[in-house]
Amino acid sequence: MLSVNGVSKKFGNFTVLDNITLNFENGVYGLLAPNGAGKTTLIKMMMTLLFPTQGSILWDGVDIRTLDADYRDILGYLPQNFGYYKSYTPRQYLNYLAALKAVPKEQVKERVDVLLAMVGLSDVAGEKMRKFSGGMLQRVGIAQAMLNDPKLLVLDEPTAGLDPKERVRFRNIIHSLAKDRIVILSTHIVSDIETIANKIIMLRNHGVYCCSSPAEVCSILEGKVYEIPASQPVNEDDLILSERQNGTETLLRFVSNIPPDAAEPVKPNLEDVFLYVYRDEGVGV
């Protein structure tokens, strides 16, 4: 449905993205990369806020620039750090954006009520947003993105700054929205997408490093991830990923081609792959 064909983006002489090709069908896609890798630039191009220096983005085979307003009709977008109106209530804010999205007037009230209930804000629908927590504001953001029942829902770093409880709540909301639409969730927090994404897209060196299911992505490190008590030495070349408490002892988790004898093999997870792939980009312990 959505095709990104050989898209590159340059700002002056600086190449942010180079020859990106991706195809999206209904389902949840996790766009995973460290800060500064070009996630937001890619998203802004899909949202028609920026245009590619090269290549094209197609919706059902038609260039999104040609579709223009018809394409924006099927978009739902929650930007990173979205601005809101502190002196207004969520209901007023949603009514405002419903007008910009050309939602038929007779449907607006019902739609706003449904969405406020969906994100658990019905009780505070009439309260000013200046009193809201970060999690509540992000839920307002999700509600506005869903106003036009979009076919393409894009959420840019939606859980940044949220506490663990709000992050779980947010993941559950995303999961409930994923039917019959493309959901693209950009993040650098692995746990946000590990359980809900059908496919993981990783960006590296301005291009697509992989676009596969979480299991396929994890298979990159199959048979290479180990744990060892912190008191035991690891090889100089081994990459330490993380550490965890196991009873009274601390275990180191690391990637190795030739592990020490005391090391126990473990099943790699998405965070291991993330830390391994971006090890040269200041990511890791």
Partner: protein, 246 residues
């Protein structure tokens, strides 16, 4: 071999889509649909405080203009021409500045009616508000300085729509939001200072001598230029913006 033909509904849907894409869009009907959707309540959502502040500041500056015009009659036309766009400038700069500061412009950019549509409609309203304010200003100055009302009106509206055209020109030709917002008022202020302080007698003499019908003609012409530029801005293809993060 069986060929999977589309159902009658699918076929009709595709035919409708082809027809819709093939036919030129009727600009007037889409404009009115937009105008109906973007009521003043929507257009000025979140910036009502800016409108009140702009109105208060404009009233004060207009009162000063009226007082000056009453005390020095020769300079009434010059003062009116230089300060007529004040309300428009304040409305646009305060509203846009607040939205930039509060980062509320990104979500509308991905809606059916984007920031471009909002800006176009706002410019029309600002032009209308400015015209009403300037008509009142022209009336009061003509009362206090005994200049003909129609001449005052022509000078005032010429000035307003000249400035408004300049502002839309920057929207059309300049990419950087900062320049779009601040370059027109800076240029106008420099021009105003130059004419008002360096060549006050030339300016006063020129505006005294110019015939009434010429001022009205210029007002109509500048208004037409403003509307034509706004039409161009609304129809302009979106181009590469200058920002990106992450």
């Amino acid at each position: 071999m069986s060929i999977p033909y589309p159902s009658p509904e699918e076929r009709q849907k595709e035919i409708n889509l082809i027809i819709k894409k093939g036919l030129p869009k009727r600009k007037t009907s889409s404009f009115w649909a937009m105008a109906c959707c973007l009521s003043p309540r929507i257009l000025f959502f979140g910036v009502k405080d800016c409108i009140i502040a702009a109105a208060a500041a404009a009233v004060l500056s207009y009162a000063a203009v009226i007082a000056c015009a009453a005390s020095s009659r020769n300079y009434a036309g010059l003062l009116l021409f230089l300060l007529s766009p004040v309300f428009y400038i304040l409305l646009y700069c305060l509203a846009t500045g607040k939205e930039l500061q509060e980062n509320t412009r990104e979500i509308p950019m991905a809606c059916r009616y984007t920031l471009r549509h909002l800006t176009t409609m706002r410019m029309l309203y600002f032009g209308g508000f400015g015209a009403v304010a300037d008509t009142l200003l022209a009336f009061f100055i003509s009362q206090s300085s005994s200049w003909p009302f129609l001449k005052m009106l022509g000078l005032s509206l010429s000035s307003l729509f000249l400035y408004a055209s300049l502002a839309v020109f920057f929207l059309l030709r300049v990419r950087r939001t900062f320049l779009q917002l601040f370059a027109p008022p800076v240029i106008w202020t420099v021009a105003v200072s130059g004419l008002g302080f360096l060549l006050p007698d030339f300016g006063a003499g020129f505006f005294s001598a110019v015939p009434e019908w010429v001022t009205l003609l210029f007002a109509v012409c500048f208004c037409a230029v403003f509307l034509a530029q706004l039409h161009g801005y609304l129809g302009k293809n979106k181009e590469e913006n200058s920002y990106a993060v992450g």
